[in-house]
Every structure is written in structure tokens, then in C-alpha cells.
Amino acid sequence: MIKDQIEFQPFTPEPIRVLSEEGVWIAPFELDLDPATLERFYSEMVAARMLDERFTILIRTGKTSFVAPHSGHEGAQVAVANALRKGFDWLFPYYRDMGLALAMGVPLVEIFGQMLGSAADPAKGRQMPSHAGSKALHIFTVGSAIASHVPPATGAAISMKLRGTGQVAVCTFGDGATSEGDWHAGVNFAAVQGAPAVFVCENNRYAISVELTHQTASPNVAEKARAYGIPGYRVDGMDVLASFYVLKEVVERSRAGHGPALVELEVYRYGPHSSADDDSRYRPKAEVEAARKRDPILRYRKFLEGQGLWSEAAEAELRARITHQLDTALEEAQAAGEAPVEWMFEDVLSSRPWHLEEQRRIVLEELR
């Protein structure tokens, strides 16, 4: 999988690409992925997109209260999921990573359970929608506080190194996250420890309404790696293959003991920041339209077609299959009913001390 001839260079002035915007292979090395893998990337991207579209419907129909759309990020997210060893390595994602969660293998019913805060949520309806997590899959449950998962990712990586587990901790976040002190603290500590941590920025150039130029005076995010003495890679995140190849190499290098790296995946978010946002307040429609021309799915489909790996029929079949999966899972998540009130006072601590028992009783009394 790791190409012998080519090693990606950090700190390139232009983002690394292997596909042109027309979906033509332009890398200086040979494609070495089998058709099944190539097709899987595509299916996962389409599933991610369709999931996002379904979320929008959930919002419109008042079935959920919040969504952080990931359309435009699918190439990046599918690349991340495929570059690590699923269920073995640990992923520390953020709230815009529902497409990533899906690609990681989180069951759709859990995803919808979380989105609805229903009893089907393995995290018990405790958090806002768009906060994925799964202990079984080694996906560290998302918390809303930006960049606060970065030091924990570092800690997990230190643990991996200490115990020689051969795992890697992959941590994703947005461009805005890089301004937080915790981001700095986490990346720095990982670098000093030479821990197997890979930091992945899904750079969509906006933090809600704040453009990247108001976020940092650095020319790009990858450059920030220099502060920590680690390599930084600038990648076209709307090129799923480039993202995959770079991440794969970086993850395996990290696993092999070369320490952390920072990978910047340049993407664009088509939707508003969240269902509570109105992006027309801060960016022109034309900008969004222009970005859509670089769409990771369209571009990759052209590539697959060029390889003779995709057809209209396959597309129709895929979409029908995903629609069915979405329908079934959503139904199941809804059928599970509301998260029960009894869950309210569980899992605060490993057992319930007197004050929580008292407080629990207040609620139960009131509901009687």
C-alpha cells in the first residue's frame, strides 16, 4: 500500500493532489488500489452525502434540533476512515464528522439514535445531535468544546507508545480549532513525546463566519507543524485519493515510530455552519457554487468512470441501497422511543453518591 518510490513531501507550497479537478490521475506514481477499494471509497462518500441530506430533512421536519452539515467534507472523511485501522486505531473526531463516523462503521441506527436523542443512542441522549462516539469502534465520543479533544488524543497516543500497542491516535478538527490553546498544548506534547498521533485538519476556511484570514496569519494550516518540529502536509481534501494516500503514509509512519504529523485537508463546507446558521450573512452564494465545482464525489466519479469502474446503473443501485438503509435505520431509531428519564442520573460517576440520589428523587417525585 505504501508506495516505495514516492514519499510525500511536507510543507509543499501547493496542496498535494493525485486527481485533477476533472478526475484525471496526475500523480507521479502508479495507482495501486484494487477496484473493490476504489469502489468502496465512492460508496462511502455517497453514503456520507446522503446521510447529510437526510439530516437536513430531519431538521426541516422538526425531528431533530441541530445538524452540522458535512457535505463537501466527504472525501476527507472517507480518506481518514480508510487510512487508519478501523476498530484498532483510535479516532478522536469532532462534530462535523458524521460522515466519518459512518465510514468508520458506526451503525446507522446509532447515528440516528444520537441525532434524535432517542433510546437508540448508545450514548443515552446526553448530547446535542452530531456528536458521534463508539467505544467498540475506538471512536472517542465527541464533545462540543472546540479542540478540547486534542490533548486527550495526545494522551491516548502516549499510552499507545508506552504500552507498545502498535496503535495510532487520529484526531480531526476544523481550521478554527487551531487557534485554541488546547490545540497547541496537545500537538506540542505529542511531538515532544514522539507519540503516534496524527492531527488532521478539515480546513474549510471558515469557523462559523470567521474566515481563515481572521483566524491565523499563517499562509496555511500545515505550516503550523513547524512550531512543533513535526511534518505538516497540505492536501486537497476534496481529492479523496490524495487524502487517502497522504494519510495512509503518515499514519503508518507514525505507527512505525516517527512521531506525530499534521495533515491539512483543504475542503469546503457547502451548507451553513449548522442548522442554526445562516451563511448568507457572511459568504456569497457564488463562492459556494464555485466550490461545488470541485465536489469530491463528482470528481471521483469521473475518475472511476475513466477507470471503467462506475456506471449509471451502479449509481442507481447504490443510491437505492443507501436510501433503504437510511429509511430502515431512521425508523428503528424513532421506534426506540425517547431516551428514558431514568438515564438522567446515570453515569455521572461510577456509582451514585447521596447527593445525586437525592436529586434523582426530586425529579422522580415531580414526574409521579
Binding site: 434540533s65 441541530f66 436523542g117 443515552k124 441522549g125 446526553r126 448530547q127 446535542m128 456528536h131 464533545g143 462540543s144 468544546a145 472546540i146 479542540a147 478540547s148 478554527g176 480549532a177 487557534s179 485554541e180 490553546g181 488546547d182 469557523a207 462559523i208 463566519s209 470567521v210 481572521h214 483566524q215 491565523t216 442554526a276 446558521d277 450573512r281 457572511y282 425517547e338 431516551a339 428519564v341 438515564w343 438522567m344 442520573f345 455521572v348 447527593h355 445525586l356 436529586q359 426530586i362 425529579v363 417525585e365 415531580e366
Partner: protein, 324 residues
């Protein structure tokens, strides 16, 4: 007289203060073009330009810390923290810098600044868009802490906060942003920090609250009144300093105190108020000074409404106090 929501009152107060005093500047995440995620600063960048109303990078430490430096240097910064829950990455700036600057420099340097933040639950915000961290601020010497509950007060208190010579944490219950409208005079007026408001006069029991739960407290008071009980309702408005005099004189009259707050219970403002009243009115209390509070659990998404003091919970507790 215009009728304003709380958001409208904030916007108006900011605008008026910026017109009045060149030194007033606004900044924080998304406050510029976007006008803030709740639109509190909507239109202000257009009016006052990007030098006086601007976006910060995504760092609460940068926001609060820069406000300290601006204030020490002579500006009157009004910094926005997007949600009170996100003050924690910047809380060291508030505690180690803003709160202690005057004291540590022997009064040489000061930090006349305001840190605005939407606070409290009720908007299905889960753990990190629902918390009420005022106790942390009140426990830290060197800060003033305001929690508003009406549009009228909001305008007067925000202006006071901006003109205050101390760092003021200004907390805005987000579920009240557009929940009520009220006539708000166009003229300049101030409401003093540290003074409570008697929202309803009564003689049987004193209900003390502030911020978001003022809604439920007033509703509960109405139900009690309908049932023939006469509750007095006090809105603290400031939690540091809180208006001890107002509370004591009311409880001295009614002999009964029910304190209502949506913040977690342990070591809270509610604890402080009932502890103080219990200590100082030992002989006058006819029943235990009692608390209805939020719970000592992370704020849950699914039980968003149940976390906060409900009217039922207030009435249950009031009944125990009255029946004691």
C-alpha cells in the same frame, strides 16, 4: 417607547454606548459580519466599522486576555464569549489576569471590561450550550457578575457594566433572548450593579431567583397567588455583589425563603444565599431556607427542560416551606 426583546436591548445598549464613548469596542467569535450567533451585535460592524467591531480567532483565552490588555491600555472592551460553557478555555485570563490586576498592581492597573456570554439551558444545547457557571465567577474575587432577566434591565445593566471600572461578567440567559418583549425607553438610563428588584410584593414567602428561572418563578408565584398565598419575588440581577439587604429585609418580613436557580446545586449562588440568610435570620425564619436548583450532573440533552427548575418543582418546594 419601543418594545424590545432582550437581544434587542443588548444591541441597543451596545450601540448607544459605542456612540457615547469612542473607547468602547466589541469583539469575539463571529461578532463582526455575522453579528454574533444570536445576532446580539447585528449591524454594529456596519455602523461602527471593523476597527471597533471585529471577529477574533477561535480562542476564549485570546478574547478575554486581549480584553484585559485593551482595558488596561484605556479602551472599554466588550468581549463576547459565544456560550458561557466556553469560558473555561479562557477562564484563567479572567481569574489570573482580569480579576487580580487591580489588586496585584496596588490599584495601578485596572481592567474595566465586560465579558458578555449567553448562559443557561432550555435550548436543547446539551452539555456545552446550557451551563450556568456564575458560581465560578462569584467565587473569584475581583469580578462583578450580572445575570439579567428582562429587556429593560438588560439595557440598564449592560450600560452600567460598560461604564463600570471593574471587570464585569455579563450573563444573558439565552432562552430569554426572544422569549419576552417589553417597553424599553429610548433614553439613557442605568441600573446599578448589586441591586436586586422586587418583582412582586407579598408577605407569606420570599422567592429569590435570577436569570432564566425568573420565568418559572414568576409563573409559580402567580399560581401560588391564585391559591391564596402571597409570595414576594426578588430578582437578584447581580450575583456578585448580591443584594443581601433586599433579601434579608424581605425574608425578615415573610419568614420564609425559597431560592431558585438553574445552576448546579453544590457550592452555588443558591447555597450562598440560603447559607447567609440561615445564618443571619436564624430567629426570624419560620421554615428552613430551601433551594430549588439545577442538578449536579452534566447538562443532559434529552432532559433539557427537566434539568431546570420547573414550575411544579418550585411549587412542590414552596409547599414544603409553607407547610413546615
Amino acid at each position: 417607547m419601543p418594545t424590545l426583546t432582550m437581544i434587542g436591548a443588548i444591541n441597543t445598549a451596545l450601540s448607544e454606548e459605542m456612540h457615547r464613548d469612542e473607547r468602547v469596542v466589541l469583539f469575539g467569535e463571529d461578532v463582526g459580519k455575522r453579528g454574533g450567533v444570536f445576532l446580539a451585535t447585528e449591524g454594529l460592524q456596519k455602523t461602527f466599522g471593523p476597527d471597533r467591531v471585529f471577529d477574533s480567532p477561535l480562542s476564549e483565552a485570546a478574547i478575554i486576555g486581549a480584553a484585559v490588555g485593551m482595558a488596561a491600555h484605556g479602551l472599554r472592551p466588550v468581549a463576547e464569549v459565544q456560550f458561557a460553557d466556553y469560558v473555561f478555555p479562557g477562564i484563567d485570563q479572567l481569574f489570573s489576569q482580569a480579576a487580580k490586576l487591580r489588586y496585584r498592581s496596588g490599584g495601578q492597573f485596572t481592567a474595566p471590561m465586560v465579558v458578555r456570554m449567553p448562559t443557561g439551558g432550555g435550548v436543547k444545547g446539551g452539555h456545552h450550550h446550557s451551563q450556568s457557571p456564575e458560581a465560578h465567577f462569584a467565587h473569584t474575587a475581583g469580578l462583578k457578575v450580572v445575570v439579567v432577566s428582562t429587556p429593560y434591565d438588560t439595557k440598564g445593566l449592560l450600560k452600567s457594566a460598560i461604564r463600570d471600572d471593574d471587570p464585569v461578567v455579563f450573563m444573558e440567559p439565552k432562552r430569554l433572548y426572544r422569549a419576552l418583549k417589553e417597553e424599553v425607553p429610548e433614553e439613557d438610563y442605568l441600573i446599578p450593579i448589586g441591586k436586586a428588584a422586587v418583582r412582586r410584593e407579598g408577605s407569606d414567602i420570599t422567592l429569590v431567583s435570577y436569570g432564566g428561572p425568573m420565568l418559572e418563578t414568576l409563573k409559580a408565584a402567580e399560581e401560588m397567588a391564585a391559591a391564596g398565598i402571597s409570595p414576594e419575588v426578588i430578582d437578584l440581577r447581580s450575583v456578585l455583589p448580591w443584594d443581601k439587604e433586599a433579601v434579608l429585609s424581605s425574608v425578615a418580613k415573610t419568614g420564609r425563603l425559597l431560592m431558585i436557580s438553574e445552576a448546579p446545586r453544590t457550592a452555588s449562588i443558591a447555597s450562598e444565599v440560603t447559607a447567609t440568610v440561615s445564618e443571619e435570620l436564624f430567629d426570624q425564619l419560620l421554615a428552613p431556607a430551601t433551594r430549588v436548583t439545577g442538578f449536579d450532573i452534566p447538562y443532559p440533552y434529552a432532559q433539557d427542560k427537566l434539568y431546570m427548575p420547573t414550575v411544579t418543582r418550585i411549587l412542590n418546594a414552596a409547599k414544603r416551606v409553607l407547610d413546615y
